[in-house]
Symmetry: C2
Subunit: 407 residues, 2 copies
């Protein structure tokens, strides 16, 4: 008898009909002889409604009370799903964050799970019940309700799977798995049957929005096999697991892109120690996430510094950087908010050379200029003009031969 944790997102539980459909899936897994713990999100749209109420009341909303309000979305779903299961003759019980309990730190709205007690869940599984747990919520050491931040339900599911030493964690969503790239851009994009945690982390952080990054980190840390699959079909999805030999054969697993990028260049900066810290310290202090940084070679004691930030943070970043530019004697600050980032990701890059140059060549052949480059062990990212994004994705998908049938 296996123990399976299943997580269903907001669109999967978006109506009472859909919750009944989820219940039938859960029951089938249970009828197949598995113990099942289900993690659910709020019904689609509910969290936004609750956030709106909070924003109407206080700007910004008090974090502790915000969590009290928004955690109700998941609480409604767990009760409804437990009822749906009972209607089908499958005994079930909902357990709220404080009842499990799911312990977190006290960083409201962005809490991190510290410990999950498993005794009460095991007792209920032993009694033949399906246990339904709200995603996204927990309780801190003094009994305050906390939430994990948007998308935190994936993390709840993986953390529960780890705490229960579950055999697998199934993440149900509205797509069939992880694809080699966005099928809206490349119709021949292929579902990836198996991908490593590290690749998935690169894919997630580079713009593939299927899985929350923290949940993958958690899964990697505790070695929880994830199965990302569709709520609405029976087909196998994508397994996210430890790296194995098969994976190393695949040089490039996927092509990702991010259009939410903007570029800032500070020209003619004196090239001396401490300048970078002077610029990037205050930006980090404002919680702006700087992605790439490039510094040209120094000419006569001066250099140019270019970095990227999320497009939505550009105005704020400029407000911080402009006085610093004046102070350090930079000649000019130039911005460009029509840039995008395309990346190739693959574990196999570790053992294969020439991948980056193949990427640069493919882009060059289409006349796409590369403005910035950054690399890691398992990815290469290029910043390009935004208008070429789709073209670049298609070209790279082709160049690395990612189309065709699922292996």
């Amino acid at each position: 008898m296996a123990l399976v944790v299943q997580k269903y997102g907001g669109t999967s539980v978006g109506s009472t009909e859909k919750i009944k459909h989820v219940a039938s899936r859960v029951k089938r897994t249970r009828d197949a002889g598995n113990d099942v713990v289900v993690v659910v999100s709020a019904m689609a749209g509910e969290t936004n409604k609750l956030v709106d109420l909070c924003n109407q009341m206080m700007d910004p909303p008090d974090p502790r009370e915000y969590d009290v309000v928004v955690s109700t979305g998941e609480q409604v779903t767990i009760g409804l799903l437990a009822m749906a299961l009972k209607t089908m003759g499958q005994d079930a019980i909902s357990l709220m964050g404080f009842q499990v309990p799911i312990h977190t730190d006290s960083v409201y709205a962005k809490a991190r799970i510290s410990r999950i007690e498993n005794a009460k869940i095991f007792d209920n599984l032993k009694a033949g019940k399906v246990v339904v747990v709200p995603g996204f919520q927990g309780i801190d050491e003094t009994g305050n309700v906390t939430t994990l931040g948007r998308g935190g339900s994936d993390t709840s599911a993986v953390a529960l799977a780890a705490a229960l030493k579950a055999d697998s964690c199934e993440i149900y969503t509205d797509v069939e798995g992880i694809y080699t790239t966005d099928p809206n851009i490349v119709p021949e994009a292929r579902k990836i049957p198996k991908i490593s945690y590290d690749e998935m982390l690169e894919m997630a952080s580079l713009g593939a929005k299927v899985l929350q990054i923290r949940s993958v980190e958690f899964a990697k840390k505790y070695n929880v096999p994830l199965h990302v699959r569709s709520t609405f079909t029976e087909t196998e999805g994508t397994w996210v697991t430890q790296e194995d030999e098969d994976m190393e054969q695949v040089v490039v697993s996927g092509v990702t892109y991010d259009k939410n990028e903007a570029k800032v260049s500070i020209l003619h900066v004196p090239d001396r120690p401490g300048i970078a810290a002077k610029i990037f310290g205050p930006i980090a202090g404002a919680s702006i996430n700087v992605d790439m940084i490039i510094q040209n070679i120094s000419i006569e004691g001066f250099t140019d510094l270019t970095f990227t930030v999320p497009r939505t943070d550009l105005t704020q970043a400029l407000r911080i950087v402009e006085p610093i530019g004046k102070e350090i004697g930079a000649s000019e600050i130039v911005t460009d908010d029509s840039v995008a980032k395309v990346s190739i990701v693959g574990t196999g890059m570790r053992s294969h050379s020439g991948i980056a140059s193949k990427m640069f060549k493919a882009l060059a052949e289409e006349g796409i200029n590369i403005m910035m480059i950054s690399t890691s062990e398992i990815k290469v990212s290029c910043v390009i003009e935004s208008k070429y994004t789709e073209l670049a994705v298609r070209v790279l998908h082709q160049a690395f031969d990612l189309s065709g049938e699922t292996v």
Copy 2:
């Protein structure tokens, strides 16, 4: 420094604007030098929405899971009100049922409060905070979420006032207090400045829907002074307190009515021991509330038995009574669903005679036939034809001189 518990119902917190208005009232009470604990209901309409969701999912809904779902309504309001207070510069904290904790038995959807711990509330009051608590919800001894049943927020407020030994419990609603009768029927109806717990209990159970009966029982038991008043005006409302000498001077405090009545007569019933039990046992077993029972004098070993039930329960009552009628050899069962009950209530009746006959005479003078009569120490109720309800109420209000200025 006094300690005040304030309770605001669903219409008082029906929108974000209204919640802000409530916050300003709370703050004013606090600024006047009082410690304040606030109990709130769900925003108007929310509980119905949640109940609908439950009914769509399971019929009847599982009681434990029903409580998990419907208790979210109040949880949203406490968070929003705490935020509204903070926005106004008044520190505040919400405490859910399990955080206080408010202990109840395990009768889901109709739980009764057994014990309220007051340490956490006192700690927060001492820290200068307003404490906001959800009405209607609690937690049982094994940590399950429970609700007290519709209207339970009044009971939560009174129980909290008792547990905290509060100086008073203010029940805010959309009317200005308790009236001598329904102002929609008698425009000269007068607000009652002070009324005893016992009178209020009779008024509440006879159809005046301002206060939940159980909350008044609780207030009486723990001698908590209640102040029923309007959220939207500053005027004093009605105090519900222990009986005092002033009250004994008032013979009749109010006239109430209930149109939700139906009458069942079982004719030609053998007059022997055990017959009543045979009929009313099964009716009680079906949770149908029999109000009045009248049995005529026996003629030749047979009698007629008449009783009233809520109109909505008539069909179900008949379904139960018909086979029993056959079994015991009754000749016929006659029903009448066009009856109503009018009542006069007053502590002063204890020490004044002739009140009932004055009532009968007033009704007779208008040609209103009395079908059934029941009396207690402090009330007289008559069942009449439904179409005379408004006329009867006006006549009685006049006969007992209830109109005019508030004393």
